[in-house]
Symmetry: C2
Subunit: 154 residues, 2 copies
């Protein structure tokens, strides 16, 4: 992953309708990113009532909003342990455009679940993507800390 | 969806490691596409032993192969009922590049499962994507037949 020393705008993705097991990991990532001064604008995805809240919009409005957001961020951080079609879409959409947009993806997943997660996630070796299977929340936060501490680099 | 009267190369996607409930739908789609003279090169995804077969490759090799294939097809037909991160990735990757590549996506899912499927699938209103929630295999095959019958158009 390209390293840089500035604060970045982060689209933090985790599953909404699928297995929400990764949400705790998402919350830990969010706190760290904010502690380091980065901007996380998708914090609503971490709320317990996110599925109900999103139901106030049409599905098409959610699609248009999310795709607009995906185009405006510097980095997509995706917690993919939930084998979610939504998170998969977000990762694919950003990587499909990364050659033009210059956006980056940080893709993390619970290594204990690797047999249930698509090879397009666990095997993601795109030049614009850093993929990491974590074995504990502590290992995950250490990884995020290394990558997003502004003085060390993104 | 842009209509055209030629035979096309189709990447047919369905879940490998997730819920395989959509595979029967995938097989029905495959037969119809081949009957209409289109080329379907991902028929291995429909085999019962696909997960074991894919295990003979590294996950990185599967990633590189699939991304190369995704770039070379005219149309991605994705059966997304299995809420799979892999199918989500494939749809996102093609749509992320569609403005440049001119590729199209046909995205189908079992309407009875719409509450379990991401809004980025059910709400997908991208100009390069035709999205259809089917209520029966008969309705699905009728939809595919209409869209891919060469004399009527894609």
């Amino acid at each position: 992953m390209k390293r840089q020393k500035k604060h970045v705008r982060v689209y933090l993705a985790c599953t909404v309708r699928g297995d929400r097991g990764g949400v705790e990991a998402g919350r830990a990532i969010c706190r760290l990113l904010q502690d380091h001064g980065h901007e996380v604008l998708t914090t609503h995805l971490l709320a317990d009532d996110v599925n109900e809240a999103e139901s106030r919009l049409t599905v098409e409005d959610v699609y248009r909003r999310d795709v607009e957001w995906l185009s405006g961020y510097d980095v997509l951080v995706a917690e993919a342990s939930g084998s979610s079609d939504g998170v998969g879409f977000e990762v694919g959409y950003v990587l499909g455009r990364a050659g033009v947009s210059g956006q980056q993806v940080v893709l993390v997943y619970d290594a204990a679940r690797h047999h249930a997660i698509s090879r397009l996630i666990t095997g993601n070796c795109d030049r614009s993507c850093t993929t990491f299977g974590y074995t504990s929340i502590q290992e995950l936060t250490s990884f995020i800390d290394q990558h997003f501490k502004p003085d060390i680099g993104l």
